[in-house]
Every structure is written in structure tokens, then in C-alpha cells.
Symmetry: C2
Subunit: 68 residues, 2 copies
Amino acid sequence: MRLKEIRKSRGISQLKLAMDLNMNQNSISRYECGEREADYSTLIKFADYFNVSLDYLLERTDNPDMMK
Amino acid sequence: MRLKEIRKSRGISQLKLAMDLNMNQNSISRYECGEREADYSTLIKFADYFNVSLDYLLERTDNPDMMK
DNA sequence: CTCTTAATATCCCATTTTGGTATATTTAAA
DNA sequence: TTTAAATATACCAAAATGGGATATTAAGAG
């Protein structure tokens, strides 16, 4: 997924994202590395946090402004 | 998620869906009941199978024709 | 360049979650 | 009301997860 790209574009560290979402820094790292798969509710947390659609987050559209 | 609604609207049984996607019938049931959470790749299987966006599948938009 | 520190990735492992078989329950048609 | 299809649930071995600790990498300052 596009998590790393989106996060970096907003200038946010894994640690800050993790704290804001009540998660662990290494969990974020694992999702970005593709070592672990985020589930339903975790994906929604990311999409809400960055205000992007799930389809954009998961690279199913190139349009970041797609309605949510 | 809207899985049950979409599946029924297409007249497909849990068993058929499961076989088509190489899964188990009880897994489908569990996702529909909300007993278990589908992960990233499972969600994508459903979205592709029914040709709907993730955001529609996960009830984040009411528009079933949203671009994918 | 070094040093220091922030940022990210990886290890280990107890705990949680999962998938699969079997089975129970519900639904629907006859 | 039987019969069968559809769906939900129980149990459990196996797989995945989260979190602390730590290693590795990146980035600035001096």
C-alpha cells in the first residue's frame, strides 16, 4: 500500500503516526515494509488519519482526490 | 462491510463465492457476521470479484459506481 | 569525516487470531 | 413436516500479531 509515500509526503514520522493512532512504531514499519498485513480497522485508521480513500491508500486508483 | 448485501444482490451463495475465491464457506460467513476481520488481500479479492471499490465494499461511500 | 541522535527495521516470543473440519442451526422449497 | 440448501458455530492446531528490546540506517552538527 501507499502508506509510506503518503506519510512521508506529510512529513510525519512512523513514531508520531503510531502515537497518534495508538499503535506501535514497529507495527507501522511492518505495514510499510509489507512484512505484515493491515486488517480492516487498521486500514480505516490510516485512511481517516490522512483523509484519503481506501482505494487510493491501497493503490487501486491514482486519483488522491477521489471522493471518500 | 457490505459483503453480504453485495453477494445477495448478485444471487451468489457463500459456498459458491468461497469456491470461486479458493476460500472456505465458513470464512465467508465469519466476515459477513463480523466475527472475523478480513485482511488487505482478502478485501481486494472481494472487491475484484464483485467489481466494486474498496470504499463501497467497506461502506465508506454510498455510490456503488464510484471509480475504482 | 566522526559523533550524536532521530528514524526505521528486525528479533524474539507470549498471546491472539486464523483457517479448516465437523456439526448445528436456519431457511426454503416441495 | 420432510428434505436439502444455505448459513452459523465449536473446537483446535497452526499461523499471524503486537510489543519490548535492539540493531541498523539516515541525517545534522561540529
